[in-house]
Amino acid sequence: MSQQDPILYTERLTKRFGNIHAVEDVDFEVREGEVMALVGDNGAGKSTLIKMLCGVHEPTSGRIFVQNEEVSFDDYNDARAHGIETVYQELALAPNQTVAANVFLGHEPTRMGRLGRWLNLVDEERMVEEAKTNLDRVKIPVDPEAKVENTSGGQQQAVAIARALQSDPDILIMDEPTSALSIEGARNVLRVIDDLRDQGLTIVLISHNIRHVLGIADRVSVLAQGRMMGVREADEVTRNEIIALMMGAEDESEFEEFDLSRTADEEGTTA
């Protein structure tokens, strides 16, 4: 399913905030058409890494290549021009604007007609309608004309996802897109990711849900303390191997000690 050409890769990418080494010498590679999962403990540097890939953070050092061409993104629009779209962990929504306006934030559809195009008149009906269509893909009920501030946590996440879907990118980066979603909602998003891959999109997925990750990803990259710990084929690795990598440990068994009394701990099985 995954091709061998890297569509995106980094060389010794590093980001420091003052003396905090958030990402250190990371070589990260994504192949065309694959779902690449990026996992790691809290504070491992996942968000920082992908924010460099979409122009939000400027790298302290290192290089980024997209389609074998070195790039340097000044801002998010540069990245977008290279076909990269992102769902941020912090969602990045404008709270006092409507859901529909947020789905199209920065890329509002304009009206036909000379005047419409000349003035960049926003086609509100189309916007509301298309926002509905996009939100329907993740099947989370939310009023497109409600203020985002007045929607629930999961609804907000759905808006952020709908925004990314609306733009038809080559590479879609999703930073914990299902964390606030219900089971159904998360399932729908995974299904959408699956569909997008079928359509040839490349996807980078950050998630703490290893089960989701192993269920959907082609490969898994593991970060720990800002460093790349390794890359694994999803169908050749176990959940515990991944966790071991995440913790920077060699011995898997040490992560098994906790078991809640009355039910099988979900973290302990499957893969």
Partner: protein, 326 residues
Amino acid sequence: MSRAGDSLLQRLISRREVGVFFGFLVLFGLIGVTRPDIFLNWGSMSGITSRLFRSVAPYIIIGIGMSYLIIGGEFDLSVGSMYAVGGITFAMLMNDFNLTVLAALAAVLVVGGVVGLTNGVIVTKAGVPSLITTIGMMSVLRGIAYYFTPAGSRQTPDLALIDVFGGSITVAGLEIQNQIFWAIGLTVVFGFLLQKTRFGYHVYATGDDQEAAEMAGIDTDRVKIVNFVLTAVLASFAGVVAISYFGSMFGSAGIGFELLVIAAVVIGGTNLFGGEGTLLGMFLGSLVIGVIPVLLVLNGMPVELQEFLTGVVIIVAVLLDILIRR
């Protein structure tokens, strides 16, 4: 979640603009209560109303730009000085450099554009807070206004075309200043652009959450710079309109306008911290600001009381609005 349709009335009442309009009506009605002799006389009343609109026209014209700026998360304290420089250079270019009215106007607007661009670049690219930048620019422009008025003031020459800004038309015996049409026309056009264009959407988003807007691909620096330019251009245009009407302008013209205009914008429901607001609100807010001195002078208030009551009325007008919408 389940949702029933909002009634039109409910939606209407919850809008800030309606509250402000009501506040304005109350103040206006107070003229009737205190001076029924004037209020019930069509001739005086229509004149008073027309003059009220005239007196707030400069605030409205500047308020358009200021609304864009504030909704987009910044503001500009240099508008009063820009207004003076605009009017004074307009007269100077025609008198001393023999420019035509249109050429002088164009030059003035370009000057405004350059000032706005400077403000915008200093704020967005250098990161100097807009308060400091525009306080600084306020001083700089005031110095220029003084420099260009060694005799205290400048007068416009006698050119017919100036009446496009400063003249009036008479409808059914009522003299209506052209300024009013400019103020209304510009409000409608820029109100439409703010509500309906992509740029307008980006203004709201930028003021709402700048980081989110940037992360969504909006060039917030550009948005802010355009807003600064718009504000300075409109402020200089307001100066042109004012000197065309008064025939003369002092170097000290427009001192204190910045606070009046910002107050009008905020009274109209715009959030001072950005992300929310309409031009209609600003328009009504300007009328509230303008009707207070009319009410007080018509009732012959002495200066101290005038100052005192102005403050009371401003607070009460907004309080009323808030209480009504509760």
